[in-house]
């Protein structure tokens, strides 16, 4: 079987050590890092995502695959940077000011990281300004916000408005989620997207990055 297929398959099975060994192997065999990433790791993760959606596999299987992905990314990242290949995208994520709910946000962060995105997790109770300043400092592509309380949702609008003031709006994509949040609300406040769960968040963030960019 071709090496990249093997990486994909072992990743789907959540075998992190095996994926690391195979990734090293691929690097030694001079397979371009971008190809290892796209045709090996991300290809595997896409299948995992699809199977999860169909209930063929469950969340723990997805997290095992994500762990294997993270391990392989550690090996690939220096090479990708050296060759000037942009990483898959950088996401700044957090639960908004006065909101201590972070379980859902954490899950989204893990799944995004598992899908190959670089994730900067600001934790919970994050002030609006902090989302913006971090996105600027880190040259992030995406801001992700979580709110679980009716009373903390308005912070999301504040972040969108600040992004407009600071000239980030349109350049940095804003995605929101959490039980009181909806597609309509996202639209209303001017966010780019809404996702109802972690798997859907991965699909949506992926859609921000056209293939082969």
């Amino acid at each position: 079987m071709e090496l990249l297929d093997q990486i994909s398959l072992n990743l789907q099975n959540g075998l992190d050590e095996k994926v690391a060994v195979l990734t090293k192997d691929a690097i030694e065999k001079q397979i371009p890092p971008k190809e290892i990433l796209n045709s090996g790791l991300i290809a595997g993760m896409n299948i995992v995502g699809r199977k999860f959606k169909d209930h063929d596999i469950f969340l723990p299987d997805v997290l095992l695959a994500a762990r294997a992905m993270n391990g392989a990314m550690e090996l690939l990242k220096p090479l990708l940077i050296k060759e000037g290949i942009p990483i898959r995208g950088k996401v700044v994520i957090g639960s908004v000011k006065n909101d201590l709910h972070d379980i859902g946000k954490n899950l989204v962060a893990i799944l995004l990281k598992g899908a190959g995105f670089e994730v900067i997790d600001l934790g919970n109770d994050v002030p609006a300004e902090k989302f913006i300043s971090t996105a600027k400092e880190e040259n992030a592509h995406v801001i992700g916000m979580s709110a679980l309380l009716t009373t903390t949702m308005p912070v999301m609008k504040k972040v969108v408005d600040l992004a407009k003031d600071e000239g980030l709006y349109g350049r940095v994509r804003i995605i929101v989620g959490g039980a009181p949040v909806s597609k309509e609300y996202a639209l209303e406040i001017g966010a780019d997207a809404y996702s109802y769960d972690g798997a859907n968040a991965v699909e949506t963030v992926e859609s921000f990055f056209p293939v082969n960019s």
Partner: protein, 486 residues
């Protein structure tokens, strides 16, 4: 005999408690509140102020358990006793703090308004099997900073039943407490006759946030009952086994008892919770899962073993509509809870993982509650022995419809649900319009609202409450409140 349902043996309960105590003493809790940390340190707990970590001691846990009362009584707005949360007494409370409401007319799931809240409070005032109100959802037409105090205000204004509530911030507690004191007349009167229970949540795993631990301390200072709402999520933020989740729930809840009792020994506390299974397919926390309900009933046994009144979020559903799933999950939870003797059973009206209230479902659930309350009374002989005389009467008269025995025990022995439960024969059902349960619930709501009677609060108390609420609203730029226009 009162029927009782048990899941745990005493040996298992003792082991779970002992493991939980070890966790509190050896692993400790993370508490983000300086006042609470220094109080615990004063009582001999070892505190690491860098990491906010506290290691409890066996001594403070024992002291707290010894100080906690074994019963919590509640009194309605007019000062009449409504609850004695103790032993196997059971009472129902609507599910609280929903984000949405299921619009009875359009069937749409939307953000609730003040008008919905007022309807809700009026309906609860007339539901016989729902003993207390909860601040069931958040009116979205007021400033978010007053949304917790405003719902308590509306509840007290429109319904006499005691209120299960909770604050979203540290600051909100004061005005909420002032509203309760306004109803009773003084802080002492409120302490003597509790009107409200505050829900306070530890954060799984093994943490207390600044806000919720401060709410707990503030309640204890005023002798306001609290229910601890620990939420282990099995297999995610807690061990996947029910026993493992119970150990975590016990540790988190015991830590709450310690915080309350160290603040003020004897303050009323309720051993509550809202644990859930975690559905690894949908990334959700199903309240209608049988495992969720098993954890609820089991921690209630642990609470009883510790001689504390209990509570659980159990009579509710994850369905999105008033459908068969809503009925089956709510009934299963309510039935198990009543049989387990959970003192304050929370949930009626609630859908969608505690995030949507439905007034129609509340009216239907009121009947589920009525049936389970009947079930909990069990089977007792009532002038049934010797049996021969009543059978002689039956054989002689050909029926017992007007027998003395029937007339004496009919209402007591049989629960007659309201019109939402269909017991007509099919011809009558067709003739009356082939109504669905949703249709019947809608007309029941109209009937209940039509017969609503205002509460007996005096004009002075009303004026004081209005004054408090208006001052609070003015702080956030609102010079009028939506209920004034209804």
């Amino acid at each position: 005999m009162r029927p009782l349902f048990r899941l745990l043996s005493d040996e298992l309960i003792e082991r779970i408690i002992s493991e939980a105590r070890d966790i509190l003493c050896n692993l400790g809790m993370e508490i983000h509140n300086d006042g609470v940390l220094s109080m615990l340190s004063d009582h001999g707990a070892s505190v690491d102020s860098e990491t906010n970590h506290v290691h409890f001691t066996a001594d403070i846990i024992d002291k707290a358990l010894a100080a906690a009362p074994d019963s919590v009584k509640l009194f309605d707005v007019m000062g009449r006793q409504t609850h004695d949360l103790t032993g196997h007494n059971v009472y129902f409370t609507p599910g609280s703090a929903a984000i949405n409401i299921l619009d009875p007319h359009s069937g749409e799931i939307r953000k609730p308004l003040t008008a919905d809240y007022v309807e809700y409070a009026k309906i609860v005032s007339r539901l016989d099997n729902i003993a207390s109100q909860s601040t069931a959802f958040i009116p979205s037409d007021v400033h978010e900073k007053i949304s917790d105090s405003y719902r308590l205000f509306l509840s007290l204004l429109y319904c006499e039943k005691p209120v299960v509530t909770g604050a979203f911030t540290i600051d909100a507690f004061d005005v909420m407490k002032d509203l309760l004191v306004a109803v009773r007349g003084s802080t002492d009167a409120l302490a003597a006759k509790p009107l409200s229970i505050f829900s306070c949540c530890p954060t799984a795993p093994l943490k207390w946030s600044d806000v919720t631990s401060q709410n707990l301390v503030d309640c204890a200072k005023h002798f306001i009952p609290v229910e601890y709402i620990s939420m282990p999520l099995s297999g995610f933020m807690a061990p996947v086994t029910l026993v493992g989740s119970l150990v975590q729930h016990t540790a988190e809840t015991l830590s709450g008892v310690v915080l309350s009792q160290l603040t003020r020994p004897g303050t009323p506390v309720i051993y509550g919770g809202s644990p859930a299974a975690f559905d690894v397919r949908y990334e959700t926390t199903p309240m209608g899962a049988v495992e969720t309900q098993m954890i609820d009933c089991a921690y209630n046994e642990i609470g009883k073993y510790l001689n504390l009144p209990t509570q659980a979020y159990i009579a509710l559903s994850d369905a999105k509509q008033l459908d068969a799933q809503a009925g089956l999950e709510t009934s299963m939870g309510a039935t198990l809870a009543a049989l387990a003797g959970i003192n304050n059973i929370s949930g009626p009206g609630m859908l969608d993982f505690e995030s949507c209230q439905s007034l129609e479902k509340l009216v239907v659930d009121n009947e589920i509650c009525g049936m389970t309350l009947r079930l909990a009374r069990g089977i007792e002989p009532k002038e049934d022995f010797p049996s021969q005389p009543i059978f002689e009467e039956l054989l002689r008269e050909k029926h017992l419809l007007i027998a003395n025995h029937t007339r004496k025990y009919l209402q007591d022995e049989h629960y007659f649900p309201g019109a939402v439960i269909d017991r007509a024969n099919s011809s009558r059902w067709k003739e009356e319009g082939s109504l669905t349960i949703g249709d019947r619930a809608k007309s029941e709501i109209a009937k209940l609202l039509g017969g609503y009677e205002p509460t007996g609060l005096s004009d002075d108390v009303l004026a004081e409450m209005n004054g408090l609420m208006k001052t609070e609203a003015a702080k956030h730029g609102m010079d009028s409140l939506p209920h004034e226009d209804l």
